[in-house]
């Protein structure tokens, strides 16, 4: 038995069978998720069969993959990367089924459907729809629901539920969870995953309740239970999908302020938020370096944007404050909702928003992009570098929340940021080059904006891909590139990049 597991020289060093087996086991359960939009379809007299067929195909494929491979009960750390990468490629394949099956004209082509599904699961919020309100409400709810499932993470959910992931789940979870591995997660891995999801569900329910209340009391006439659920899903997931063409602008000011609040909450490290909300330990965030910088970034971004709005005389008074804060929070936390078409704002305001896209939310949150903790540690790495330039022999440990961060983790952060910026640049370049082949006119700012918005899982970009616009004009190739960027951004590049090294596959 042991001898059989030892790889022969030159043999594949990765147990692909086991990895596929686990992917199958997770997909198997995804089939059940289609039942939710199916009930919506039933209630609103829309075709139910696309969801049921999708459910059967998904569940069946999962089962077939699981049966067709002989998997080890416990997967190794190497296979973990492959599992995560594969799951996140496969999810949108099955998630796109209802779009194609329901014969929705805007999503009929598989490239577009896959883009939309990837944008959903990665909680990006970029869309190829040009008229959202024309789409069936059950499909719209599925769009919102995919964001919610992917926001906290399918694998985190699987670790919380599947007993077989009790061992080996830690690495899977670390790979999917946002942010670098700087702090060790306490408690058992199942407990950690459970806490994350319990808090996530509780916050979502709270948001649904509050939004619905606004509808009932007439504080926001546009709000009802359907809209409340749909927007609670995409808000807590920091996704950005909306059921309205006008995104958050379709709702009243009080709803928009509430969305800001929930976005800010969802952008906090959930493990810390759990300690604050459930255990009442306020210190978990008040003493957290990342949380403090996160707030400072949010406030700074909002103020900067407000000054630009007031200076450019674009909007005035209370609207200016709300618009500035909403856009800053929405873009920085990587949600992508909008209360105003910021593509009409000044170039300075647009540039500010583009830069905010690179900040991101906290590690362990549902937000994307580079994330505050990496900026914080990068700053400290640079400060150490400068210090050592002058004092060559000085030894300066880099600390986070007083604990010393080891050099490997720091190198990982530098590598991540370099890869991130590199992918952003390459992505932008690719979009411009691709546009040159066709008739579509893409400004370099728009191309870079689209790349940043997809890689950072923000959603809307600039120009025609702005908050009230659509990614539809992009060619199929460009759409593919952007889909890839969303995938890479959600998995934070490194786990995917690892698969491209020869050492990964060798025995």
């Amino acid at each position: 038995m042991l001898a059989a597991r030892l790889p022969r020289p030159g043999a594949l060093g990765v147990d692909v069978g086991s990895a596929v087996n686990l992917v199958g086991a997770v997909l198997k359960y995804l089939g059940a998720a289609f039942l939710f939009p199916a009930t919506i379809a039933l209630g609103s007299d829309e075709p139910v069969w696309p969801f049921l067929v999708s459910a059967v195909i998904t569940g069946g494929s999962g089962l077939a993959l699981e049966r067709g491979t002989r998997g080890q009960q416990v997967i190794g750390p190497r296979e973990g990367f492959l599992v995560v990468a594969l799951i996140w490629l496969a999810l949108p394949v099955f998630g796109a089924l209802p779009y194609v099956l329901a014969d929705e004209p805007q999503l009929a082509r598989p490239v577009d459907a896959y883009f939309e599904a990837m944008s959903g699961f990665t909680a990006t919020g970029a869309t190829v729809l040009t008229d959202i309100e024309a789409v069936d409400s059950s499909l719209l709810m599925w769009r919102q629901f995919t964001q919610w499932l992917g926001g906290m993470g399918i694998i985190v959910l699987a670790v919380a539920i599947l007993p077989r992931l009790r061992i080996g789940g830690r690495q899977l979870l670390q790979t999917e969870l946002a942010g670098p591995e700087v702090e060790n997660l306490s408690a058992t891995i199942r407990e950690t995953a459970r806490r994350l999801w319990v808090l996530y569900v509780a916050l979502t329910l709270a948001a649904i309740a509050i939004f619905t209340l606004y509808g009932w009391t007439g504080a926001d006439p546009a709000m009802n239970l359907f809209q409340a659920s749909a927007h609670a899903f995409s808000t807590l997931a920091i996704g950005g999908f909306s059921t309205e063409n006008e995104s958050a602008a379709a709702f009243a000011g009080v709803t928009q302020w509430t969305m800001i609040l929930f976005l800010v909450l969802a952008g906090i490290n959930f493990l810390r938020l759990y300690l604050v909300l459930v255990r009442g330990r306020l210190r978990a965030v008040s003493r957290d370096d990342e949380f403090r910088l996160y707030l400072a970034f949010l406030v700074g971004g909002s103020v900067l944007l407000l000054l630009e709005l007031l200076g450019g005389d674009l909007t005035g008074g209370g609207d200016a404050v709300r618009n500035a804060v909403f856009q800053a929070v929405s873009i920085m936390t990587t949600a992508g909702f909008a209360t105003a078409d910021y593509t009409q704002w000044s170039a300075l305001a647009e540039l500010t928003l583009l830069l905010l896209m690179f900040l991101g939310a906290s590690a362990g949150s549902t937000g994307g992009s580079i994330k505050v903790i990496r900026h914080l540690l990068m700053f400290r790495i640079i400060r150490r570098e400068l210090e050592q330039t002058v004092h060559q022999e000085i030894v300066v440990p880099v600390r986070f929340n007083r604990a010393v961060v080891d050099d490997r983790a720091l190198r990982g952060i530098v590598a991540f940021i370099v890869l991130y910026i590199g992918l952003f640049a390459l992505g932008g370049l690719g979009l411009v080059l691709d546009a040159k082949r066709g008739t579509l006119e893409v400004q370099s700012f728009e191309a870079l904006g689209a790349a940043a918005a997809c890689l950072g899982n923000v959603g809307p970009g600039f120009g025609f891909a702005g908050p009230f616009g659509s990614y539809a004009p992009f060619s199929d190739l460009s759409t593919g590139v952007l889909t890839g960027l969303m995938w890479l951004g959600r998995l934070e590049i490194i786990p995917v990049a690892v698969l491209l090294t020869r050492g990964y596959w060798r025995g």
Partner: protein, 447 residues
């Protein structure tokens, strides 16, 4: 009384030297040659073996001993031996350790021995009082550094050095009117041949020698008042071993800027991670380029705490050459003190002899935790635990009779209190008392 000493190294030998005349000492060690050397010099019994075993301890007669001192260089051996002795006999046990965490555990009563001494901490406290109060003539530390006794020569006025404002607010005024730093008392004024235990209407005059008892902050404040040179606030420590680390910690606590120089990369990293606020350099410290680049010469003081005396001497001399004004050398060989001082190192400190002194103090009378002699034989500082039946208990200080003794500080539950007129003694308090030598017996009886 019978005393068992575990460890015949430098510390053990110094202890035996101090105690063998009045007491019956048995020394345990693994090294036969050391034991032989010791038994030729002093009248002691020796037992060869591992002192952390019951059999050897019993052979050494620990069951009849009144005191057992475990002072090998190995912490864990000392701890096991001390704990065993505590169970095997009624002896008081003293354990030497180099680990501050063991010391902390002992202070919180989680390690059951009677007294614990850390060479590193003793050394660090000695260095810090020398550095922290640069113009003090002699300093002593009580209650784990919470109480200091320092001696100053009050500078004479001269035309080149007019008195500073700070001095003018203290010297020449009646004590009750002078701005004396908080948490401190003037224990004694020595003027020529006369020695005064001052009352409020007395005043300090230029040329007096004064003895202050108070908190480390107060001692620092007195140092600032009396200082003839700039206050020390930038210290370089060579060597980040256990001693160097302890020194750095104590100095950082006093808000002194510390730079640590350590040649081993691994150790430098470890120390940098452990210490907040110190700047750690991975360097030998004897490279002239380094000294120049890092402006080592501008440091107010440098402490040399590397493992080898010769290296310390070399580095200290080099630092002097580059302009460091005040150098303190840590020595490991007894003879090095003379060598260092001959070579112009300002102060030489031997951790082992400090440790031995500390242990001997305890051995003399366990109730008198520390006993220090100032001004030859004229004064003593007593550290006495107040008994329940003492007649001075629960009487406000202002009503206590004036007897030529002064209660400088009380240590209650591990915290130092600097008493005012309304405070009173409680049973089990440790009182730090400044008294004339002839009154020692009287004071001990009263408490």
């Amino acid at each position: 009384m019978k005393i068992v000493v575990l460890g015949a190294g430098q510390v053990g030998a110094t202890i035996v030297e101090a105690l063998h005349d009045d007491h019956e000492a048995t020394v345990i060690d693994l090294d036969a040659a050391r034991l032989q050397a010791l038994s030729y010099r002093y009248d002691v019994r020796t037992v060869r073996g591992n002192g952390a075993t019951r059999r050897v301890l019993q052979d050494a007669g620990v069951e009849e001993a009144a005191l057992m001192i475990a002072c090998t260089s190995r912490d864990e051996i000392n701890l096991v031996a001390g704990t065993l002795a505590k169970k095997l006999s009624a002896a008081q046990t003293i354990v030497r350790t180099s680990n501050p965490e063991y010391l902390e555990a002992w202070q919180e009563r989680q390690i059951d021995v009677d007294f614990m001494v850390s060479s590193e901490l003793e050394t660090a406290l000695a260095v810090s009082s020398t550095i922290g109060v640069p113009s003090a003539k002699q300093t002593d530390v009580f209650a784990d550094g919470q109480v200091q006794i320092v001696e100053f020569d009050v500078p004479l006025d001269s035309s080149e050095r007019p008195p500073t404002d700070a001095i003018r607010e203290v010297v020449g005024l009646e004590l009750k009117a002078a701005s004396i730093p908080a948490d401190s008392k003037v224990a004694s004024i020595i003027r020529g041949d006369r020695v005064l235990v001052p009352r409020g209407d007395e005043s300090i005059q230029p040329g007096d020698r004064i003895i202050i008892i108070g908190s480390p902050e107060a001692a620092r404040a007195w140092g600032q008042i009396m200082a003839r040179s700039k206050q020390v606030d930038d210290v370089v420590v060579y060597g980040a071993g256990a001693t160097g680390l302890a020194i750095a910690r104590v100095l950082l606590d006093q808000r002194i800027r510390v730079r640590l120089i350590e040649p081993s990369e691994e150790r430098a990293r470890e120390v940098a991670e452990e210490l907040h606020g110190a700047r750690v350099y991975c360097a030998t410290g004897v490279d002239p380029d380094f000294i120049e680049r890092e402006r080592i010469g501008q440091a107010d003081a440098a402490v040399f705490a590397m493992r080898e005396d010769a290296k310390n001497l070399y580095a200290a001399t080099l630092a002097k050459v580059h302009g460091v004004r005040f150098t303190i050398g840590i020595t490991h060989e007894p003879i090095s003190i003379e060598v260092f001082e001959h070579a112009g190192i300002d102060v030489a400190v031997n951790p082992r002899s400090l440790t031995a002194e500390e242990i001997v103090r305890f051995a003399h009378d366990p109730r008198v935790r520390q006993l220090s002699m100032l001004e030859g034989d004229r004064f003593e500082i007593l550290d006495i635990t107040v008994r329940e039946e003492s007649k001075l208990v629960r009487i406000p200080f202002k009503e206590l009779p004036m007897t030529g003794s002064l209660i400088g500080a009380i240590v209650r539950d591990g915290t130092a209190i600097f008493p005012h007129g309304g405070d009173q003694l409680e049973p089990d308090d440790r009182a730090i008392i400044f008294t004339e030598s002839r009154r020692v017996a009287e004071v001990e009886k009263a408490l």
